[in-house]
Symmetry: C2
Subunit: 359 residues, 2 copies
């Protein structure tokens, strides 16, 4: 099994050390004789897990006290609704940027809740790209500006974040913890855990406390960020095992040099892969060179048949999950935090060999 | 560690065999070289897991094709909002029964969404109890009648379900799969998994398809049962590891005689424990004898100090999680499906010994 390289876009590869520790703990956490899966969320053991998870995240991302960190459920897809429910008041407009499939879903959901102004749309652009901050024409008095930091499907990523007057709201699912960011620029960050943080079923929300506090009064309690802040993410039973894995993953990141080291390695991984793509005309990157994702490297071959052959031969060689999203086809190598540099080198070798045989 | 008896109210004990299998699979599921925690939810492996989970649940509960089975997130607390959002139309009224702490939360959330009529209220009754079906005076034309099948905190349980004209909506979190039920009587059943089904972070919804179909058009897509039905519980990334554990748990129940066997054993466990409680005046059951829960056995001692002493001496002897909910105090033994009969006998022995020493 050690020869398997997991390029899945999410749920995605987890650090081997984390899986081994979770396996070791699975029937007996910290000598309690009880699994984390069976522990009360009010037990001292689990409370300590959740506290460390938050502490680690705060340290890694340098999150100030003026922000709350929440461990919720429902994925980024639920945040597509919760962000406007909490931050978009009657009579206000929320600005959105349409940079691809995920931004589009966020926009569709927000439109069911309030007034939405799409102030930039690169969804149809080829090569795929996200808007440049300079292209944006924000609505005066907008409640917030929403961006999708990294489009997991198209492989386009914001390299420079906009700096609007309104709070910046960001879906950071497929890139959180992959690079250093300046939290102060954001009003709300949300991320499904299943790429860089842990397993599916856990959502991390980082929200400026003053924004959460001022949410409209008439939304159901379970959807109010403030209710979860007041209850320390125990308004209802948290997804405990996910929080536990996030604790282990953030510990793993910290022990290996934090975000500075992660960013350096992620840039190196992406550079080697894009370099292989650009080496000849055989492979073609699908994202605009200025917006190429460090997390999801998307590329094409000359025909769908060849792409199909590439994905299946790669899988047979132990390089799994390289097929592009079914909505766009092509090929995609998801190389999140836990994906090793040597794995990228193995893919590059496979690509060169495949080209020799089919070029 | 084998001497630990886990009486936690939820997250709660899981079958040892399930934990061992999950531990064995944790780094390599079914020879894929990838953990279930890292598998794409679209992978053939995970699709097969989710299919078996649904098949097992349908078989155990005899769920007809006219009902959808959904694997969602957010816990029962989120269903407190989703039930009225999907089933309570403008101008309609939903009937609720207030049988305790959980019913009260469901009612509070529903009131934020639509018209609610509380047609029976036993919340303040002592001994604690749920309403009798005969006590109910349903609202003509009500959208549905909501009940909390088992009040985890007070330890009161519906033994006979009402049979109203309106669809019956049931929070079955702390008793699902504990006894045979007649699905046809229900319009909607929901349950957080963390008692009888698996870990926290997974919610099972069983909904009559015609009810889901007719939900109001203006609710966000993520909150529409129909959206999740259309997508086969993959409208967004499911809580994959929870679904996997539910598959193992339902397999475990099936292999041990299904719900008939579970019901017999659960009744035997509860009978032995209530018998010990009733043996002398030293322990006093808190629930009305006609409504005593088979899942959460609640009792008192003469003073809080004695209860405190009982819980801490029990914990020291390996009987963990016996403290009552912090809102009501007292003692509570949660004896869900996975809790063994011998564990109940061990508690009975401890109770007898404790009484000898302190009676």
């Amino acid at each position: 099994m050690s020869h398997i390289l997991n390029f899945n876009p999410g749920p995605a590869i987890l650090p081997k050390e984390v899986l081994l520790e979770a396996q070791n703990d699975l029937l007996d956490y910290a000598g309690t004789g009880i699994s984390v899966l069976e522990s009360s969320h009010r037990s001292p053991e689990f409370v300590a897990i959740q506290e460390e998870a938050e502490t680690n995240l705060r340290a890694l991302l340098a999150i100030p006290d003026s922000y709350a960190v929440l461990f919720l459920q429902g994925g980024a897809s639920q945040q597509f609704a919760l962000a406007p429910m909490n931050l978009l008041h009657d009579g206000q407009t929320a600005d959105y940027t349409n940079s691809g499939a995920w931004a589009k879903k966020a926009i569709a959901e927000a439109k069911r809740i309030g007034n939405v102004n799409v102030i930039a749309d690169t969804n149809e652009d080829r090569p795929t790209r996200v808007p440049d901050p300079g292209e944006l024409d924000p609505t005066p008095g907008a409640a917030y500006l929403h961006i999708t930091c990294n489009e997991t499907i198209s492989g386009a990523q914001w390299k420079t974040f906009p700096n609007p007057e309104a709070p910046l709201v960001a879906d950071m699912s497929s890139e959180i913890l992959s690079r250093k960011i300046d939290i102060d620029r954001f009003g709300l960050i949300y991320a499904g855990a299943q790429k860089n943080l842990g397993p599916s079923g856990l959502t991390v929300v980082i929200v400026r406390k003053d924004l959460a506090e001022n949410a409209p009064a008439d939304i159901p309690a379970i959807f109010r960020y403030q209710a979860h802040i007041d209850a320390g993410s125990m308004f209802n039973t948290p997804p405990c095992f996910g929080v536990y894995l996030l604790m282990l993953v953030t510990r793993w990141v910290e022990q290996r040099g934090g975000l500075a080291a992660r960013q350096r390695i992620n840039e190196e991984k992406a550079a080697r892969l894009y370099c292989a793509i650009d080496a000849t005309g055989f492979y073609r990157g699908t994202a605009h060179i200025a917006h190429r994702s460090t997390m999801n490297v998307t590329f094409n071959l000359s025909t769908e048949e060849l792409e199909e052959q590439f994905a299946s031969e790669a899988a047979a060689a132990g390089l799994k999950g390289l097929k592009g999203h079914r909505s766009v086809g092509g090929l995609r190598a998801s190389i999140y935090n836990a994906f090793p540099l040597e794995g990228v080198d193995a893919l590059v070798s496979f690509m060169q060999d495949f080209e020799r045989r089919n070029g």
